[in-house]
Symmetry: C2
Subunit: 254 residues, 2 copies
């Protein structure tokens, strides 16, 4: 028996999110199916981040156990032959048998993309939130500073999640405008509450529009009041860039 | 009666190319349909570049005549409300009544994208040609120089096109490798033969693989022999970036 980690990229447009559902196509579902086809075993992967419907990933993580004799590094190639074009394994390797992708300290990086121009661009229709109005990038960047560091993000969390604490640490929040009119909001931290990145993006959009002043951001965060933050920005703009495990490094390549 | 020019962006994935066909969905077809819905007139647009199935555009050009009282600049907004998400008008404006988008001197810019890494990326599955093997970028850039200037490109043309001359001028051919492993081949010239950019891309790929030596490129062009050039690279990697009209400038904004 060995435990294998998969780094998974996907376009979430045609999926009902990560998590297995009985009557809907999900990322977890197609991974389980491809693994069963490949190994003949009944396999259930355990995901690091259960992304919502329409959310994308460049490097989400899943682990599974198998008795298969296929070398860990070959699973990527073998699975990609059995997976649809919009789900692609980027890497596979052995990890220690008790490694759990949700119970280890890690750094997660997300990117939220806003396409900000007069007319939409077809190529970004599923991977960016389109907004045509003027956005004050300086104000957004100023407001972004208030998120840095450790805070109780109770006001930046959708109802329904059960967590012990709503305290999280954001190590990096950068906003860049690209020449093709994409505004990329890059967020890195040690964990995120349910919908947290989308609510941060929705709130920064309100700042860009001039609805929320950047000087008020620290107070809004401190209030812990979901009603003071902005709306949850649409799923299509969100992408999980990657997860870096810090302590108890998975034993890559073993 | 006025003549209006449209600058059209589209993701060509779900279309049978530009040109109107009786039983297939085409870009020209959806434009004609949206114009009829908007104006009540029976309108046939005339396109500048009749792109193949699967080819994309950021700025293809079409013109049409109308008696409509809608201001020329407003057609973009009104049409976008009636067009599918993967076809978006970027601009609309009046041009002189005898302006023809295929009979005026112009500069066309195309981009061919190769995604060159171990595994595909889902987000580029419809907009880049995936190639996993090593590519010698230096060799490709050296070979690219042979294309610059005026040449008889008879060897870089698919059968079926009827043209008076196969002489064309390429003003720019640049190849750039992006940090995310895309290789972008940018080509600018005064006109292109049928499949010319895709055959250039396919030939440069052979150079990158080491199958064709960069020193042989000038001779291959001079031969005029389709058999000496490389294969036609897949449609999905090609994008028409834009068309710039030189003489007889359309009277924008009139």
């Amino acid at each position: 028996m060995k435990r294998i980690m998969l780094v998974v990229a996907y376009d979430g447009t045609n999926y009902h999110g990560w998590q297995l559902q009985p009557n809907a196509v999900t990322i977890e579902g197609v991974l389980n199916q491809a693994l069963q086809q490949l190994t003949g075993e009944t396999i259930q992967v355990t995901g690091a981040s259960r992304t919502d419907a329409g959310v994308h990933a460049l490097g989400n993580v899943a682990v599974f156990d198998t008795e298969s004799k296929i070398p860990a590094e070959k699973f990527s190639y073998a699975l990609n032959q059995r997976l649809p074009e919009d789900v692609v394994i980027q890497k596979s390797f052995a990890v220690r048998p008790d490694f759990h992708p949700r119970h280890c300290d890690c750094q997660k990086t997300y990117e939220y993309t806003i396409l900000n121009r007069t007319f939409p661009l077809p190529e970004y229709r599923n991977t960016a939130h389109f907004y045509y109005g003027a956005l004050d990038l300086d104000a957004m960047q100023k407001a972004a500073q208030a998120f840095q560091g450790e805070h109780d993000f109770a006001g930046f969390c959708s109802a329904g999640a059960q967590v012990k604490t709503t305290v999280r640490r954001i190590d990096r929040l950068e906003i860049i405008r690209e020449p093709d009119d994409r505004i990329r909001i890059m967020v890195q931290g040690n964990g995120f509450l349910y919908n947290m990145v989308r609510i941060i993006a929705g709130t920064l959009l309100e700042v860009g529009k001039g609805v929320i002043l950047p000087e008020c951001m620290a107070g809004i965060i401190a209030s812990g009041d979901r009603g003071q933050a902005g709306p949850t920005a649409p799923a299509r703009g969100l992408k999980l860039i990657g997860i870096e495990y810090l302590e108890e490094q998975p034993e890559a390549g073993r």
